[in-house]
């Protein structure tokens, strides 16, 4: 039974909590009020780091999928699956925080701008990845097929991005003032970077816990098998 104390995990959680508190302080108290958009702009500090984590997670899915195809070790498949789940989670956050920010600032819920649209497409691709995993029962086949999907999905990302961006220049939407990267003063930049670091820590915490959950599940399965064979 795996009851030994998970010091690394606990340390990670503690570190993440501290980082979160620092971030919250910086987001709400330290960072200055944005001139044109007001306090609503603070969502930006959650929106952008979420996008970064989602992208990072999907990149990891790509890497782990490649390694799985090369090595066929179940561990890489578990990692890929966990990263995909967390990636979709943060992707969803981006898609939720986006409109919440957009409505008061620009008056519309959704703009088909390149970044947001890319996020939506990514969400679709990796939800499809999770669905594929869900609808396959043979664990080895599932791992192989998911790995192939993980590689193809990520290779598609740059193509999706460029096609959407160029499409936008051909079909211009009304110009939205105050884009995300415009006019970042030093304290805002600092807050943003701290938030990105925090979210990254959060990612690793979630990843670790997801992996532990999986290994516990695997243990239960093994015990179940032994029970069936003995009885």
């Amino acid at each position: 039974m795996n009851t030994r104390k998970d010091t690394m995990g606990t340390a990670l959680v503690a570190l993440t909590l501290v980082a979160m508190m620092v971030s919250l302080y910086m987001v709400f108290l330290y960072a200055p009020r944005e001139a044109t958009m007001g306090d609503v702009q603070r969502i930006f500090y959650f929106h952008v780091p979420s996008a970064w984590v989602a992208f990072f997670a999907f990149f990891l899915v790509f890497v782990f999928s490649l390694v799985y195809l090369a090595r066929s070790n179940k561990r890489w498949d578990t990692l890929a699956a966990a990263c995909a789940e967390i990636g979709v989670l943060f992707c969803t956050l981006v898609l939720i925080t986006g409109p919440i920010w957009a409505k008061p600032v620009w008056g519309v819920w959704w703009t088909w701008d390149a970044r947001l649209t890319l996020t939506l497409v990514l969400w679709l691709i990796y939800v499809a990845y999770l669905m594929l995993r869900h609808y396959m029962t043979d664990p080895e086949r599932r791992a192989t097929f998911a790995a192939v999907l993980g590689v193809i999905g990520f290779l598609d990302v740059p193509l999706v991005y460029f096609s959407i961006r160029w499409w936008r220049t051909q079909h211009p939407q009304p110009v939205m003032a105050g884009g995300e990267g415009s006019g970042l003063e030093a304290p805002m930049l600092a807050t943003l970077l701290v938030c990105i670091a925090t979210f990254t820590l959060l990612f690793f915490t979630l990843l670790r816990h997801r992996l532990r959950l999986q290994s516990l599940r695997d243990e239960v399965d093994t015990l179940q098998d032994r029970l069936e064979q003995a009885g």
């Binding site: 066929s72 043979d138 080895e140």
Partner: protein, 238 residues
């Protein structure tokens, strides 16, 4: 164990499906020209073994050597020598008898294709149906075509997975005769079957699989069928 004289050699073959281990470090040597029958319960690993040797399953640990060459890196010429008789027909319903055989003949690089197709169609007594769609064939005729498919590229190693299951009398006869011819010409045979009597009759050696390992091995030359059957029952129901 000399690699050159054995046509098929597996070393420490292990295959797991998730939590289930189908084969445990299985080592088996089949010399050139031997007819081997594999028996055992469902789930003992017999079909998995066959699927690995026929390269249907390509991820496993351990080695499989065909005529001394590693199956994973073997070239087309070596892999072409393997034939597989399945209880599924592997036929395309919307192609004719001739086209089905043509497809397989082409993929296996059979020389003098048209002549060979004609030859095998005659051998399984399907001449009258040469240009009939498989969809329109009766079950028995389909079975005979399936046999033709397996033998069309003149394999030197034949793997059979429950080949007699569900065959009608005519098809059974033809399979028996094809196997007889095959053995007489020095072919190597590995057959998985539940029909232990038939398996015994056709074999030079019989091997029992249980839980992914070989637990018993005997030869019809050296012992009687009854002795084997008792031993087999003992293994299964112990």
């Amino acid at each position: 164990m000399s690699d050159e004289s054995s046509l098929l050699l597996t070393r420490n073959l292990t295959k797991t499906f998730g939590r289930f281990t189908a084969l445990r470090s299985l080592s088996l040597e089949v010399p050139h020209g031997e007819s081997l029958t594999i028996v055992g319960r469902n789930g003992a690993g017999k079909t998995t073994f066959l699927k690995i040797v026929s390269s249907i399953i390509r991820s496993y640990t351990g080695e499989v050597l065909i005529s001394g060459k590693n199956l994973k890196t073997a070239d087309e010429d070596t892999r072409r020598t393997i034939g597989f008789v399945s209880h599924e027909s592997l036929l395309y319903k919307d192609l004719t008898v001739r086209d089905n055989l043509g497809f397989y003949a082409r993929m296996y690089g059979v020389a003098d294709r048209d002549r060979r197709i004609g030859e095998i169609i005659r051998r399984v007594d399907l001449e009258a149906k040469t240009d009939v769609l498989v969809r329109a064939l009766s079950r028995g005729t389909k079975q005979r075509l399936s046999l033709a498919r397996a033998f069309i590229h003149s394999p030197s190693i034949l793997l059979l997975d429950e080949p007699f299951t569900g065959l009608d009398e005519r098809a059974s006869e033809i399979l028996d005769s094809l196997l007889g011819e095959f053995k007489a010409s020095g072919g190597t045979l590995v057959m998985v079957t539940h029909d232990i009597e038939r398996g015994w009759r056709l074999a030079d050696r019989v091997v029992v699989f249980e839980k992914g390992k070989i637990v018993h091995q005997t030869s019809p030359r050296g012992s009687s069928f009854d002795a084997f059957r008792n031993e087999y029952r003992r293994i299964l129901y112990d």
